[in-house]
Each structure stands twice: as C-alpha cells, then as structure tokens.
Symmetry: C2
Subunit: 158 residues, 2 copies
C-alpha cells in the first residue's frame, strides 16, 4: 500500500516531477529534483527542515543556496508534493505528502525529541466531521501528541 504521491512514480520520478511542475507553469530544475530525491530516499529522515536539506545536499557535493531550498519547499507545498509540519521545534519541517486517507500523525517526546509516526482513521473521520459541520472544505490535518518516551522517563525532567 503506497502512501505517498511520489513513490508511485519512482521509475520516472524526474518526468513525473516535470509534469507536475510544468502543469502549473513551473520548471524542472536540478535543485528541485535533488530536494525531492532526498525526501524520497528510503531509510532516511522523514522530516526535514530547510537547513537540514541544505546541509545534506552540500555534503553530497550539490551546490544549492539556502534561499533556493526555501523557495523550492514553498513550490512543492503548493503543488501538494510536500506537507509542512509544526512539530515541537522552532522551525518548520516538511515531509512527503500523504493522501488524506492515509495520513499519519506524530508522537513527540518533549525531552529527547524522538518522533514516532502513527496512523488512525478516526482522526480523518473527525477532520471530515468538523469541517462538514461548519461548511469548511477539508485540506488536511495535523495531529501531534506530546509526551515523554520510555527512555526519558527514567531521567530527571527539567
């Protein structure tokens, strides 16, 4: 069961991205491709912030400026490829966008920052119910649970 828009087209990821971009008058650039590849790399980080993206690409020898990263992230959010997350931190994180029905949510340890993901169809139902009741259209939802993970419970919590 695939849960992200991008992986479904992995074989021709560049073509797929180009199509999506061009449809809206944007252009395919190597920088945008590299950023999306980073998100798509399996086993890697799921949640990335602009600075992390910039640094990881720099480590791979890619030349890309921070402002380009920010601009690319905005474009991809607007195209529906990425979703912006508000975790416990001061900066914004991004992840590949899941279709609403397979959306996952986050359980964050406020002590060590560990992030767990989970899915729950009820959350989607509640989103649909609340939006319908007020005549809103539903775009997406974000559910974040904060707690202290088992490892950190043993330590003194400041």
């Amino acid at each position: 069961m695939e849960t992200n828009l991008f992986r479904e087209h992995e074989r021709n990821s560049a073509d797929f991205l180009k199509e999506i971009l061009n449809k809206e008058g944007f252009r395919l650039t190597s920088q945008r491709q590299k950023i999306l590849e980073l998100f798509n790399a399996e086993g890697g980080e799921h949640h990335l912030c602009a600075e992390e993206i910039h640094q990881k690409l720099a480590e791979q020898g890619e030349k890309i400026s921070v402002s380009t990263v920010y601009r690319a992230l905005h474009v991809m959010v607007n195209l529906g490829l990425l979703q912006e997350l508000e975790l416990a931190e001061e900066r914004k994180y991004y992840e590949l966008r899941s279709p609403v029905l397979h959306q996952h949510h986050h359980l964050v340890c406020v002590h060590c920052g560990e992030v767990n993901e989970f899915e729950d169809a009820i959350i989607t139902q509640v989103s649909g119910h609340e939006t319908q009741e007020r005549g809103f259209s539903l775009l997406n939802s974000q559910f974040t649970v904060y707690g202290i993970c088992p490892r950190c419970q043993g330590r003194y919590i400041n």
Copy 2:
C-alpha cells in the same frame, strides 16, 4: 464545567498565581499577573502571540517590554498554565491550558486565518492509546484541521 486551571481560582487569582510561581522558586510580578489576566479576560481573544500581548498591554497603559513577555510566556508554559500552539502562522500562539480531558482543538481557514475551536473526546482517547502503546507518558496533544471556510470558498484561492 470548568475547563481551565486558572478560572477555578479566579477570586484569588493573584494568590493562586503567586503560589504556583513560588512553589518553583519564581516570583509574582505585576507583569506576569497582567499577562495572565489578559488570557483570563472573558470574551477576549483566546489565542495570543507575544506581540499581541505586548500591544494590548501597552494600549492599557501597562509598561512591559517585549522580552519580558517572552520570558513570562516561557515560565507559564513550564508551569503548565499556558499551552503553546502551532497554528498556521509563522509565530507561536498561546492559550490557557486546559486539563487534557477537556482539551479543545482548532479548525483553521488557510485563506482568511479564521480559527474555530472544537472538542472531541475521541482525540483524547487516541492520544491515550498511542502513548500507552509505546510506553510514553501523555503530556498533551494538538490537533489542527486546515480547510477553507464557507466565506472564502466563493473567492479565488491563490
């Protein structure tokens, strides 16, 4: 049915605040009192950011610096009096903290920024379930639904 920690002690709100502060080695100051009074004022804004707090207090003739507002907000979050919200905006918002069982959540119009609140016990149940399953202790949770409100649906969405 009271839903916030502060209102329960409204008659002696200053004493109540002082007690909470002193218990942790903090001191009661007029600035901290004024900030909490602002949140507690009924019919007022529920969600306030640092700059709004600073401005509203200035309008009332209170002298308080922005840095004091930030410092007071941090103290009150740590004491459990306020909760930090990550709405759709670039800055952080705060509201009086509700006991977990009566927590409310937010429905945000991404176009005009209108914020609706709602309660749903199922959200609390899911929070409890997910934390227990992974051995986390539950601190709180935040559920935000993004959509477009009825008024904005008629307009062109950029």
